[in-house]
């Protein structure tokens, strides 16, 4: 609840000079041991107490602050011989290649230097990348002869990871360093080095900073054994070799031995920085696991950047399984009492709410509307216990903060991963409920892409007043009924809501007044005036519609007849709403379903989100009570077709198979004519697929002709509630061709799909055509082919999620800095204009009508109606 005290305005990057490393160091580290026999850290060892403390009891020997407050202090190791920093090996190679081996000048002529100096200067002035120019310099400055001292240059090569070879001689790190030192300072810029923050010779290390213990804490196992961090292990290795190298050098050991040790030191320092550098075997732990050194700590998904800096762990959050609750509003979320007593909301105590706060504290931490903590003005946090609550209450006065339990009406953030779009995180109002699952209204399943087969969701509680206000006005569920993706509704009725509404409103659906009142009451709507007559379902549903709503559209059940009978439609698919009364047409997915609900869409756009939320809440409840009045069930009995139909399908499939045989024969006799641009084999495949596809469709049509609108499965399929006619015909008539890799199944056994067939058999059955229906059951061969197709689908989905996830990450990363400026332009954070007007018309798709400013035709109609009334 504090404002921002300090703001970081910029971060400068630079190299550290050996002097700087020594200056910031608190101690020189020399001994490779960490602790002595008594378990105390050794002075000048890697766990030197001056490097900082971790244990909360102790005080730091360097800064005097307590453990936890002390962020640690660096030490240093003086390397007996210089070593090359792996990360800069490539740069060093390029720099050496571009500079004279004798005089140290960059191999550019005076004219070129002046030219590049200006170019680079310009880029830096404009804060643009100089990478391209430096790359250019590297190629131009690869000369055989120095333009300054006319010295012949030898080819410098790099032997990964860190060996620099000139001609046939491998340069030692000391020699490399000398060469880098010889480069004149005002020429650094040509090789991409900023002389203000770096010198090329600093890329060769002579002194190694030792990170504080807080960076590499050791852990004590249950057995009392200490286990050191990977970095500490690596530093021990470095120290050990460094020590041996120094001793050998002092003793005047043969050159060969010194060089070997030097090489070893280079290896250890290399793997200390990057244990995945190409060309070096990774350093391993005793168990054989590769060590996680500096570069690995930063890199990748689990690295510091993506895991700890871009994503942070939070308090005041909860996660549990979700389950449906049709009785709460779409704006609400049911929170289990157990969670409500755990996560808290901070409330400032004032003289107006002090009594209420005292009541919360009186309830204690275990009784629901209670409190867990009290924060005093001096920022001390006091836990409320049942034993201490009286004393806490006594001390409570305005200015304190009470962390009270979550209560009905609090605004929380609700989220389900993967958070693919902004509707994956919406603000809900809390409703504290018994049991242990989060409850949500079924209408919000589509935006979260949630179901209840064990899905879990997260909840976050806002801790500041600003965040609450912002969430309430921008993130509430009702503000997200329209998707910014296409400007239509993404929240709406699903499944039973749709079949329910259809059953309620279809032609011939009549209810007694008593039933109607029951349903209306159940939907928590205002009771209409009694008429004493029976009601049609359309009249009941019309109670929900705004009184001045007019619209005409074709429902989902529309069969797309050649000639539309409009109001006389036999399927009741032509919906006409006149002044809030449904005249003709039944309600289905097109009315208020997620993704395509026209009435819902029009209510949000014309009457606002509050009205839309009310409409959704009541209409879904009404539909549910409607479906309960009438009763709705489905079973395989719904897919039963008479004997005669089965015979016809059998006949049809037999014919198709005969036709396939004919085609195959024609193919073998080479009578088949190839389609343009296709081989004979491909032509045959295409023709067979076509014949079998038609056969499946025809068999489906036969089955369909026995299904009427009284069939519950058909109602679900046609209204768009769940499933499709294809699913039904697959159950009733014929499953059809199974495909792998977009074609018929052709591999599996030598020259055939299964050993049950003849070599080279191409027939329908041998390539995965399933004659049976799901209801009849698949024979073993069909079952196997079906599993093949099914497996491909599963593999496909797994790959797709990974691919599209990465694509989205890249897209978001590339575009996230864009925003709309007050002048209407779209710019990134550098101020580069990407669009002069957003979307060429400055319209927000989320507020548009399917991408358009407004439905002009509707506007005209309304205008005319209004003017008529005016007259």
């Amino acid at each position: 609840m504090k404002g921002i005290l300090k703001k970081i305005s910029q971060i400068n990057f630079g190299l550290m000079s050996p002097e700087n490393i020594r200056k910031m160091s608190v101690t020189k580290i020399v001994t490779p041991d960490t602790y002595d026999e008594d378990g105390y850290p050794i002075e000048a060892g890697l766990m030197d107490p001056r490097l900082g403390v971790i244990d909360p009891g102790l005080r730091c020997r360097s800064c005097g602050s307590k453990g936890g407050d002390c962020q640690g202090h660096f030490g240093h190791i003086n390397l007996a011989r210089p070593v090359i920093h792996v990360g800069f090996a490539d740069t060093i190679h390029k720099v050496l290649r571009s500079t004279c081996k004798d005089c140290g000048h960059v191999l550019l002529t005076e004219a070129e230097m002046a030219d590049y100096r200006e170019k680079i200067g310009n880029q830096i002035k404009n804060e643009e990348s100089i990478t391209a120019i430096i790359k250019d310099v590297y190629t131009v400055a690869r000369r055989d002869k120095c333009p300054h001292c006319a010295e012949e240059q030898e080819d410098v090569k790099i032997d990964k990871p860190v060996s620099i070879v000139e001609g046939n001689y491998k340069l030692t790190a000391s020699e490399v360093r000398e060469r880098l030192e010889a480069i004149p300072e005002d020429e650094y810029i040509f090789v991409g080095i900023n002389h203000e923050v770096a010198k090329p010779e600093w890329m060769v290390l002579t002194v190694l900073p030792v990170p504080p213990v807080t960076v590499r804490p050791s852990i004590t196992l249950e057995t009392g054994e200490r286990s050191e961090d990977d970095l500490t292990h690596k530093l021990v290795d470095i120290l050990r070799i460094n020590q041996r190298l120094k001793e050998n050098m002092e003793a005047g050991a043969p050159q060969l031995i010194v060089e070997d040790l030097w090489e070893l030191l280079q290896y250890h320092v290399t793997t200390y920085f990057d244990n995945e550098a190409s060309g070096v075997p990774p350093a391993r732990h005793r168990s054989g696991r590769p060590l996680k050194t500096l570069a690995q700590r930063l890199k990748g998904k689990e690295g510091r950047f993506r895991s700890n800096l871009s994503g942070k762990r939070v308090n005041f959050s909860a996660r549990t399984v979700i389950s449906p609750d049709p009785n709460i509003s779409i704006n609400e979320v049911g929170v289990p009492e157990m969670i409500a007593t755990e996560v808290t909301v901070p409330v400032f105590v004032t003289e107006w709410n002090i009594e209420a706060m005292k009541k919360f504290i009186m309830n204690g931490p275990n009784v629901h509307p209670g409190a867990n903590y009290v924060i005093r003005p001096d920022e001390r946090k006091i836990r409320v216990y049942d034993e201490t609550k009286e004393t806490v209450i006594e001390k409570l006065e305005p200015g304190f903060v009470v962390e009270r339990h979550l209560m009905d009406g609090d605004v929380v953030l609700f989220n389900r991963q993967p958070s693919l779009h902004r509707m994956s995180m919406m603000a809900h109002e809390v409703k504290v409920l018994p049991y242990k699952t989060f409850r949500l209204n079924l209408c919000v399943c589509p935006p979260y892409n949630a179901d209840f087969d064990g899905d879990e969701m997260n909840m976050h509680v806002f801790q500041t007043e600003e965040s609450r206000a912002e969430a309430k006005s921008l993130m509430r569920v009702q503000e997200h009924i329209l998707s910014p993706r296409f400007g239509g509704p993404i929240i709406g009725g699903i499944h039973d809501h749709i079949s329910g509404a259809y059953l309620l409103t279809r032609e011939g659906s009549v209810f007694s007044e008593e039933d109607v009142f029951q349903m209306v009451k159940h939907a928590r709507m205002a009771l209409p005036n009694a008429t004493g007559k029976d009601w049609t379902g359309k009249q009941v549903f019309s109670l929900l519609l705004p009184k001045d709503l007019n619209m005409v559209y074709k429902a989902e059940i529309c069969r797309k007849c050649d000639e539309c009978l409009k109001q006389e439609c036999k399927n009741d698919a032509y919906v006409v709403i006149d002044n809030g009364q449904i005249i003709t047409g039944a309600m289905d997915e097109k009315a208020y379903g997620a993704f395509s609900g026209k009435i819902l869409d029009s209510i949000v756009k014309e009457y606002g989100t509050d009205k839309a939320r009310e409409f959704l809440d009541s209409s879904t409840k009404l539909a549910i009570s409607g479906i309960m009045k009438r009763g709705f069930t489905t079973s395989t009995a719904d897919e039963e077709i008479p004997r005669e139909a089965k015979d016809r399908i059998e006949q049809l499939l037999a014919n198709a198979e005969a036709k396939v045989e004919q085609l195959i024969e024609a193919y073998h006799n080479e009578e088949l004519e190839a389609l343009p641009g296709r081989s004979l084999r491909e032509t045959l495949e295409m023709k067979i697929m076509q014949v079998l596809g038609e056969a499946r469709d025809k068999s489906g049509e036969i089955a369909e002709s026995y299904f009427g609108m009284e069939n519950h499965a058909v109602i679900m399929a046609l209204t768009g509630a769940r499933g499709s006619m294809l699913n039904l015909t697959q159950i009733a008539a014929c499953v059809g061709q199974q495909s792998v890799r977009g074609g018929r199944i052709e591999r599996g056994y030598s020259q055939r799909t299964l050993p049950h067939f003849q070599v080279g058999e191409l027939g329908a059955k041998a390539s995965g055509f399933v004659h049976s229906s799901y209801k009849k059951g698949l024979d073993p061969l069909e079952f196997f082919f079906h599993a093949m197709g099914g497996r491909e689908g599963l593999v496909d989905t797994a790959i797709r999620t990974a691919q599209s996830g990465y694509m989205q990450r890249r897209l978001v990363n590339a575009l996230q800095d864009l925003n709309v400026q007050p002048d209407g332009t779209v710019r990134d954070n550098r101020g580069v204009i990407v669009q002069t007007e957003y979307g060429e018309d400055g319209i927000d798709p989320a507020k548009s009508d399917y991408g358009k400013v407004a439905d002009i035709d509707r506007m005209i109609d309304e205008m005319r109606i209004k003017s008529k009334i005016g007259k």
């Binding site: 977009g742 978001v812 996230q816 800095d817 927000d844």
Partner: protein, 384 residues
Amino acid sequence: MDIEKVEKVVKKKRTKFPEKLIYEIADAAERHDLNDKELDELVKEIKKANQRAGVENGEAVGTVAAQSVGEPGTQMTMRTFHYAGVAELNVTLGLPRLIEIVDARKKISTPTMGIYFDEEYSADEEFVRKIANRIGKIILNDILKDFNVNYANMNLSIEIDEDKVNDKRLEYDEIIAKIEKAFKKVEIDKNLLSFEPTITDPKHAIRELRLLADKVRDLQISGVKNIGKVVIRKEGAEWAIHTEGSNLGAVLKMEGVDKTRTSTNDIHEVEKVLGVEAARNAIIHEAQSTMEEQGLTVDVRHIMLVADMMTADGKVKSIGRHGISGEKASVLARASFEETGKHLLRASIRGEVDHLTGIIENIIIGQPIPLGTGSVGVIMKEKK
């Protein structure tokens, strides 16, 4: 109703509408036969709607666009190939194609062209067929009646099928000229040709003969570079050509080709031939049709923003570490995306400065982000 009239009314209302909207209004006005007063009223209403639906300042349009393009990706099929319109041609579709577009690949997996013709030729089947054969790759093998490798005489005899030559609208003389140019040792007797291999080493004579046979068969006698198969189709009243492979530059130079409708799905080729602006439109068109083909609706504005970002500095850049994300100003933003070490090390020798103006940078250091409600401050009004 004419456009000018609508424009006048719009001007009178002291507002500015995009061109497209004005056309829509004019169109609607004509359909409903509006009188002047009604038009006046309509423009007023639309002005209100326009203001209501406008984007707000500070809106994170980039993130919304990225999410709107990325989210449907999970619903797309992986089915790489599909027959798009033309049964004879395979075209990459679905998620792989979308990834290809945002990657701005130099070599796309299935380049294809749709070639249309000027009005005077579009109904002329003969003309279109002729062009098709000039564009499509035809090899000698396609027009042969007979092909014999004679091991006894160590020669090759072929017979050209005149019917096929005529069917493909080729010129006999041109074919012969091409053959003569490619092979030195050839005897020509009308349709009968015989080739002899140049034998350098008698030990490998048979191999040489076989190699020659392949060479003869694969001799390209017609076609534009990079274009393989062509398919001629009747679309409505006109004839069009669809190709496998693409060469926009060469095709546009051909006579009779409609330069406004002929297109390719290779974005880099569009950029090379027609420039970035066209490449930007090509990205929008390709991405949108990929989405639509899958039955997914995504507002054009989102795709436009992606395309504009990709082409903002005059050349087509990919989305990812080699393109936009790799060229960001901020070190932290680049380091947190990919290639963390490389960016940090490079920043240190260059002495780069991160001004922390972007989104991730501010998240990393724990400050409010400069977007949406974070891009504005509140100042209390002083009491006078």
